[in-house]
């Protein structure tokens, strides 16, 4: 229990950030929740519709469900690229003797390039007329049969818009995980090695358990960022062709600002908030159970 005076000082220091958080995060969420019970196009009178928007979203909107499953696919690809890639590169980095800084900088580079530049870059890479880098590479290595307009093919477009987002932040998570790996006590590793542990055992029994808290944080970060992914798919394909790369976020944006259906867009926004909370809860639950086991 804190003495009175220090409780007051804690309050004084906590209040400004809490207020800011309330205004910038909680207030808009509350406002969305409020708006989700209305039908409003911005210039008409607001009409209270009760739960009608939720009923429409969950039972009568095929694009909503399509976007939801697309968003899950997008998330899966981003997570594999970001966390899997980051863990792999970070582990390799620890065993490198030279050029670590160079590799780190190279991997981190995409995270500092503007999103718009990345989107345009990848539109060029995936292009078929004129031939882009990816199709050219496939042609050179004799896989010409795989050449295709990656962003116009409804079977490849979701992966094609997810990859740049995954690629972009691999470096960032790699840095975090690398820093965590450096903190693994050397004595423990050496002791294990003397006991005859293989590299794989060393990784699974010593290194990974040690970086678990950092791993949980990065997983939560990557998942929430992935669920909120918007800019790259929006810029590259605008959700198309058809709804093949439509995510909940791009659909919500279009519903609000193209269809001017602010009430329904708020309903989707509320769903995204709930979805993010559920995702974080699930991650914590699963990892905790694993740790307890």
């Amino acid at each position: 229990m804190l003495p009175n005076r220090s409780r007051l000082s804690v309050l004084v220091f906590l209040l400004p950030p809490l207020l800011l958080y309330g205004i910038a995060v909680l207030f808009p969420i509350m406002q969305s929740l409020f708006l989700s019970f209305f039908s409003w196009n911005g210039i008409s009178d607001m009409e209270f519709v009760g739960l009608a928007n939720y009923v429409r979203m969950l039972t009568a909107d095929d694009i909503f469900w399509r976007s939801f499953f697309n968003a899950l696919g997008y998330l899966a690809i981003c997570l594999v690229l970001q966390l899997g890639g980051a863990l792999l590169v970070a582990s390799l980095l620890t065993s490198m003797r030279r050029g670590r800084e160079l590799i780190k900088t190279l991997y981190l580079l995409p995270a500092v390039i503007s999103t718009v530049a990345i989107a345009f870059l990848f539109v060029r890479i995936y292009s078929i007329e004129p031939v882009g880098l990816l199709n050219q590479l496939l042609h050179w290595i004799g896989l010409g049969a795989l050449e295709r307009p990656w962003l116009s093919d409804i079977n490849t477009v979701l992966a094609a818009v997810s990859a740049p987002e995954g690629w972009r932040f691999t470096g960032l998570y790699m840095l975090i995980i690398y820093a965590a790996l450096l903190s693994v006590p050397k004595e423990l590793e050496e002791a294990a090695r003397l006991d005859g542990a293989s590299r794989w055992q060393l990784f699974t029994k010593i290194r990974f358990p040690h970086i678990m808290p950092v791993w949980i944080t990065t997983t939560i970060m990557a998942t929430t960022y992935g669920l909120r992914g918007f800019d790259i798919p929006y810029l590259m394909t605008n959700g198309g062709p058809g709804q093949s790369s439509e995510l909940l976020t791009t659909y919500m944006y279009k519903t609000a600002f193209t269809s001017t259906d602010f009430g329904y867009a708020s309903t989707i926004a509320v769903f995204i908030v709930v979805e993010c909370l559920v995702a974080v809860g699930l991650i914590l639950f699963m990892l905790k159970r694993k740790a307890d086991a």
Partner: protein, 444 residues
């Protein structure tokens, strides 16, 4: 915690209620001659036109001239050339009741709602009071009108849309320029067999493909089809609707558009045509400076020609009736309309046509003659002359007609239909149910 929650909810409700109360201007939109003193101040024009284009350059100059006699006046031009971004900006500002003195909009259902709420000055009365109404081309004004015939936007352009084609490439494939819309699929097959891309299209911006869906119904059933379709009174399942759906599917099957067209942009498509890789390209007279002057690639310059929208057998509209838009129009905010805005518009609108025609573009008025640039090819003059012989009807671009949700869905489904990802039947069902669901909200 519960208390905090309740307070936040009340605050939200209060904020929204206050925002709602602020809507609606006090001015009368039909009062076009406000009385009082002209007090110079800054006025703003929210617009969606190229930043260094003729309209902006001329209006900037006219504003400077006006400011010489009215110290303190200035015209703040806020442009967002990318149309989807612009529309979002406009709609958001309209929702916040923060529209500036002048703003651009097409004759969309959203704009019609603004007009119904009295937020836009009656442009017909305004132009008549400034004594310039009769100078305008009737079709330039008609393009800006809502379905009820009311006029709330002022045009600054007049364009004609043509199908440009490369004679040499058609000859190489052994086909003639299409005489009917129904000739196009077979033409595409022949061009593809000769290794030529038949039609270059900017798929990324979506409106170019949406033009194609408008053509068959305009020939088959006239301009009324889209007016009925958008309200749900006509359907894609009707004969005129089915004709366009089947035609688009056949364009897709004949691989008329370049591979991967849906992710290619405006300049990609134009480059394909001007570099001699694609045989056809559908674009308006705003591209005359690139297509009908010595700026055009010399290797294709002698081979380029254009045709107007082909007719079909039994067509109810004539060959001289096609897409002739007068571009996005300028609306005048009724709430901020005062003697200054009125006086400036009088000054600008009387001087604008001659300045605009001098740049080589078609003026929305008939009282000036367009100057053909010195570096023009013979096609330039030929294109301008088409404006003198237009029929009474015009094909409206569907993106300005449909409600925004239906429009967005149509743009998405069109790509799928042309790519062969969905069948004509699926397209018809999806679109008819989308219209049935969304149209009533906008056209009640």
């Amino acid at each position: 915690m519960k208390k905090l929650f309740r307070t936040a909810a009340v605050a939200t409700a209060a904020a929204l209620a206050l925002a709602g109360c602020g809507s609606g201007g006090a001015s009368d939109p039909s009062n076009v001659s406000p009385t009082g003193e002209v007090k110079a101040r800054e006025i703003s024009w929210l617009l969606s036109r190229p930043a260094d284009g003729a309209v902006i350059n001329i209006m900037k100059k006219l504003a400077e001239d006006y400011a010489k006699d009215h110290p303190g006046f200035s015209l703040n031009l806020i442009t967002t050339p990318d149309r989807p971004s612009y529309i979002q900006k406009l709609e958001t500002l309209a929702a916040a009741n923060k529209l500036p003195e002048l703003f651009d909009t097409d004759a969309t259902p959203f704009a019609q709602q603004l007009a119904k709420q009295g937020k836009m000055v009656d442009a017909e009365k305004l132009l008549k009071s400034l004594d310039v109404y009769d100078d305008y081309r009737p079709s330039a004004l008609d393009y800006q009108r809502f379905d009820d015939g009311s006029l709330h936007m002022i045009p600054f352009q007049f364009e004609l849309e043509f199908i440009w084609y490369n004679k040499a490439l058609l000859q190489k494939a052994g086909v003639a320029a299409p005489k009917s819309l129904d000739d196009i699929p077979a033409m595409c097959t022949a061009l593809r067999a000769a290794g030529i891309t038949p039609i270059a299209i900017d798929g990324q911006d979506q409106w170019p493909l949406e033009r194609y869906v408008a053509y068959q119904p305009f020939r088959e059933a006239g301009p009324e089809f889209i007016q009925k379709l958008k309200k749900g009174e006509a359907k894609f399942a009707d004969p005129a609707g089915q004709k366009t759906v089947e035609w688009l599917a056949s364009l897709g099957k004949a691989k008329c558009f370049q591979d991967g067209f849906s992710s290619q942009g405006y300049s990609d498509a134009q480059n394909q045509f001007t570099s001699g890789q694609a045989a056809m390209y559908n674009i308006g007279t705003w591209e005359l400076p690139s297509l009908a002057t010595d700026k055009l690639n010399p290797t294709v310059r002698a081979d380029i020609d254009f045709l107007t929208l082909p007719t079909t057998e039994g067509s109810v509209t004539a060959a001289n009736e096609f897409v002739s838009p007068s571009g996005i129009g300028m609306a005048v905010n009724a709430k901020t309309y005062d003697p200054l805005v009125s006086d400036f518009l009088k000054f600008a609108l009387t001087k604008y046509p001659s300045e605009y025609a001098a740049t080589g573009a078609l003026s929305p008025t008939t009282n000036v003659e367009t100057a053909v640039p010195a570096n023009a090819t013979p096609l330039y003059k030929k294109a301008l002359e088409m404006a003198n012989d237009l029929g009474d009807k015009q094909a409206m671009p569907w993106d300005t007609q449909l409600d925004p949700t239906t429009n967005g869905r149509l743009q998405q489904e069109l790509v799928l239909l042309v790519q062969g990802n969905i069948t004509p039947e699926q397209f018809t069902t999806t679109m008819d149910s989308t219209i049935a669901q969304n149209a009533p909200k906008f056209f009640k």
